[in-house]
């Protein structure tokens, strides 16, 4: 059998890591509920599919132009606009169309956002429609894992690079977002892809063009993409600091030219909603996010829901991204990342990150806009630092809406994992170097008796125990440092948002510290069987923060009976209800007061908890319980 070369083996490992990510995420996503935003993106994705379906019909009937009329475009594409561009939502819609097990002509037919014309012919990979919607997000997470390995492999030995890839996914909060049909891990994956391409573009012009194309796709994923150029430009200016010292301006590199040209082109081309009024609608999109309202978010026992006025609160608010990172990323990963940071900071100019890694020695005498990093050290430490601190620092600005917590700076997490890989590689190398080396023919050939170097047939002798230990040590160490992250992530599921690390004390520690537990109503899912069984009272069910789109999807997935009702929002919704749920977030306290007043009791029927920490409460009108008792 042909032996794989280094590149082949790396491709195999990258593929296996991606497969590991897909299998892990698909194995568990069904236990995670559907949040407010995710349900909207599923709805929008299906509606966008409707446009493609109609376009197909129009093509068949010879009048494709109808699909491009403003009214027709807006009928489909104004859903979830101007909130978010559509790359991922289109993929969610296409994936649903391609991979769901179709029962759309059955009783759930009226729950679809577009008319169901007939039974869909599909490749029925997934039993639940929601899984089919989520599949592209899962693939993006897998892509991120593979990219981290691929990037890290240029700097690090294989085991450390693979560990960096695993540590990227094995973070409870990132893992939560990695399996849902939203944009936060997809944009983190794209941010990493753009950073990766930029890095390669410093010495290879082809990647300069790729950087622009990837940036254009990123702009179509989520508005976080607007920030990417800033972090790259700062790195570029630092890398070319010699130009400043020589009093000359650094050249504009191909990567940035490509981003400037291809970015807007792809952005406008991909989003039909913009086509009717590109400038006006693009402005509306930008304003939507520059003027985004401040939702509620709990941090260190306080509820934040508006720009802070006092200096003390501004400072406290500014610590949020850093403290949240410190309390959510597994501690072993953080420790390794800190070691990796020291290694990167102590690296001598021109030296590789690790001895066997890619050289940073200049490969050309003169700079070129096509290969602007060819004549200089590319400053890998500054690159990792800026890609890590950039997203965190942006969210530390007190006027930035704080809601969402870690999801808003997930782009930093792959670089934290990469830094952890650097730390792991350094430890592994130093550890191996410190092992006794008396009989190691590779390290110390002159100390090895001649008779043991080769046998009479000229073959190398079998490796000794110490040699085996020396080879196995880095792999074992990589496995060991991944273990807590994987176990912690598994422990957190499906409530990753409420989980905090060893420093914080897990679910209970996070609650005691006053950290956010959840948002947008996803955590009801484990209660659905019980809610479904409580007929007929569940015809008058108050759903609190679970939006109608999510309830529809639960019904389409077969997790809820069609007869389960929804009494609507707020105080009136509770008044109309017989049963009601309440999510524990600090700002929802008022809703619990309504339950007490309207139901006349403070006694919940049930509390869904994680390790003793309340997540969702179910209230029932006491007269129902009395009637049930009488029966």
């Amino acid at each position: 059998m042909k032996r794989l070369g280094t590149r082949g083996l790396d491709r195999l490992v990258a593929g296996l890591l991606a497969l590991f990510a897909v299998v892990w995420l698909l194995a568990v996503e069904g236990k995670q509920g559907i949040g407010r935003d995710e349900a909207q993106y599923m709805r929008a994705g299906e509606r966008y599919w409707g446009w493609f379906e109609e376009l197909g019909d129009n093509l068949v009937h010879g009048h494709p132009g109808r699909s491009f009329a403003t009214a027709d475009i807006d009928r489909y594409w104004s859903d979830n606009a101007p909130d978010h561009p559509v790359v991922m939502k289109v993929l969610y819609g296409l994936s649903w169309r391609a991979f769901h097990r179709c029962h759309c002509t059955g009783p759930t037919r009226w729950l679809h956002p577009i008319p169901v014309r007939g039974r869909h012919i599909t490749l029925p990979l997934f039993a639940r429609e929601s899984t089919a919607f989520r599949f592209p997000a899962i693939l993006m997470s897998a892509l991120l894992v593979a990219l981290v390995f691929w990037f890290a492999r240029a700097w690090l030995p294989r085991a450390a690079a693979a560990a960096a890839a695993v540590l990227t996914l094995a973070q409870p909060h990132l893992f939560f977002h990695a399996q849902i049909a939203c944009f936060d891990v997809p944009i983190a994956a794209m941010a990493f892809a753009v950073g990766f391409a930029y890095w390669k573009s410093l010495r290879d012009w082809r990647w300069g063009i790729a950087t622009g194309a990837l940036f254009g796709v990123s702009l179509g994923v989520k508005h976080n993409a607007w920030l990417m150029p800033f972090f790259l430009v700062v790195h570029y200016l630092w890398m070319r600091r010699g130009d400043w010292r020589a009093r000359r301006l650094p050249r504009l590199p191909l990567a940035f030219v490509s981003m400037l040209v291809l970015g807007p082109l792809l952005f406008f081309a991909h989003w039909p909603w913009l086509w009717a009024d590109p400038v006006g609608r693009a402005r509306a999109y930008v304003r939507r996010h520059l003027e985004h309202e401040h939702y509620n978010f709990e941090y260190l026992g306080r509820n934040f829901n508006q720009p802070e006025m006092s200096t003390a609160r501004k400072w406290l608010r500014a610590t949020a991204p850093f403290v949240e990172t410190g309390f959510t990323v597994p501690v072993t990963t953080l420790a390794l990342a800190a070691i990796g940071g020291v290694v990167l900071a102590r690296r001598r100019r021109g030296a590789p990150v690790q001895p066997d890694g890619e050289s940073e020695e200049p490969v050309a005498d003169r700079a070129s806009w096509l290969r602007p990093g060819a004549d200089v050290d590319r400053a890998p430490g500054a690159f990792v630092l800026l890609q890590t601190l950039g997203p965190l620092a942006t969210l530390a600005v007190p006027s930035t809406p704080v809601f969402g917590g870690v999801k808003h700076f997930l782009a930093a997490m792959p670089y934290i994992a990469l830094s952890a890989g650097v730390g792991l590689a350094a430890l592994g190398r130093a550890f191996v170097a410190a092992l006794p080396a008396a009989d190691d023919p590779e390290r110390n050939p002159e100390r090895v008796p001649l008779t043991s170097r080769d046998d009479s047939a000229g073959r190398r002798p079998a490796p000794s125990t110490r040699q085996r230990l020396r080879r196995a040590a880095p792999l074992a160490l990589a496995g060991l440092v991944c273990l807590p992250a994987v176990v912690e992530t598994r422990r957190s599921h499906p409530d990753g948002l409420g989980h905090y690390n060893l420093l914080a004390g897990g679910f209970a520690g996070g609650a005691s510290l006053g950290m956010n537990r959840q948002f947008w109503g996803y955590s009801v899912l484990p209660m659905l069987p019980d809610l479904d069984a409580r007929a007929p009272e569940n015809h008058g069910l108050y759903w609190h923060d679970v939006l109608p789109d999510a309830i529809s999807m639960y019904k389409r997935d077969g997790r809820l009976s069609l007869a389960v009702g929804d009494t609507g929002f707020g105080e009136d919704g509770i008044r109309r209800s017989q049963l009601g749920i309440l999510f524990y977030e600090k700002h929802w306290a008022k809703y619990e007061a309504w339950f007490w007043e309207i139901y006349g009791t403070t006694r919940p029927l049930f509390v869904r908890e994680r390790e003793g920490v309340p997540m969702v409460t179910l209230y029932e009108r006491p007269e129902i319980a009395r009637r049930a008792g009488a029966r």
Partner: protein, 269 residues
């Protein structure tokens, strides 16, 4: 002198990271089993019920466990108690705690019983408590408001905590006066004020000033703002102890939009 060779540092660093990884893994595996079970809560509830007397306060420690406590003992925690102004009036406190938690309500007094029940601990704390001679929230129907304005007894949310309070709204151009004509005073009058509703506090920034008249004596209460939370003031009423006097609260706001001024007060002896 023996120096720290790089090899030793590397070995030490590797050992430290390996140890951290092992500890973190073990904690992640073991910690879930340290949470109280339903059986623990049932047993703790039975323990409380055995000794419970009307007027006792039952609290959870840490406070975030309160909803689970109410699942098991909510029939003994009516809204007036769950949304209490403070805990001063309660002579006996049952504290159901976990993970070494301690409640603010259980800090003073003597521990009369202390039992561990699975992963929970049940303590009964007794402490001296004042007698309430007049509860302004319970007696809210005796109050008159002028000019005619909203006045209701309600579970309000101040600083994301629930309080049973009397709620009114200031109006533009003059004070809103809430008067209790026949309040029987004790040695202390405890008054707490705050602004109801997270969303209202987000939507507006107006402040509210309040002045309390005890008979003819005027006392300015702290200004109530979005950030002032639930602010308690204790007024010495020894001179009026045992007397029934009119008590009047005047509130004003230059920007009264979305200001849901809430107060609770107790005359205590």
């Amino acid at each position: 002198m023996r120096s720290w060779a790089p090899g030793r540092i590397a070995l030490g660093g590797t050992a430290a990271v390996a140890l951290l990884a092992i500890v973190e893994t073990l904690v992640a595996l073991i910690a879930p089993a340290c949470a109280p079970t339903d059986a623990d809560w049932d047993a703790a509830a039975a323990e409380v019920r055995r000794g419970f007397r009307p007027g006792d306060l039952i609290v959870a420690a840490p406070a975030w466990a309160d909803p689970i406590l109410r699942v098991h003992l909510g029939d003994l925690i009516p809204p007036e108690v769950a949304a209490r102004m403070d805990d001063d009036r309660f002579p006996r406190v049952w504290e159901v705690s976990q993970r070494g938690g301690r409640s603010p309500e259980g800090r003073r007094g003597e521990v009369r019983s202390d039992r561990s029940v699975g992963h929970l601990r049940v303590r009964l704390i007794e402490r001296p408590a004042p007698t309430v001679t007049y509860d302004f929230v319970a007696s809210w129907r005796e109050a008159r408001v002028s000019p005619p304005a909203v006045l209701q007894r309600k579970v309000v949310e101040v600083d994301q905590r629930l309080r049973m309070a009397v709620m009114t709204q200031p109006v533009a151009g003059g004070p809103v006066v809430v008067e209790y004509p026949h309040a029987r005073l004790g040695r202390v009058l405890a008054v707490a004020t705050g602004l109801h509703d997270t969303w209202a506090r987000k939507a507006a920034r107006g402040t509210v000033t309040a002045r309390l008249f005890i008979g003819d004596r005027a006392v300015d209460l702290p200004e109530t703002t979005d950030d002032s939370g639930w602010t308690e003031t204790r007024i010495d009423t020894s001179a009026e102890d045992g007397r029934t006097v009119p008590v009047r609260l005047e509130i004003r706001s230059a920007a009264p939009r979305e200001r849901y001024f809430s107060f609770a007060a107790e005359a205590r002896r």
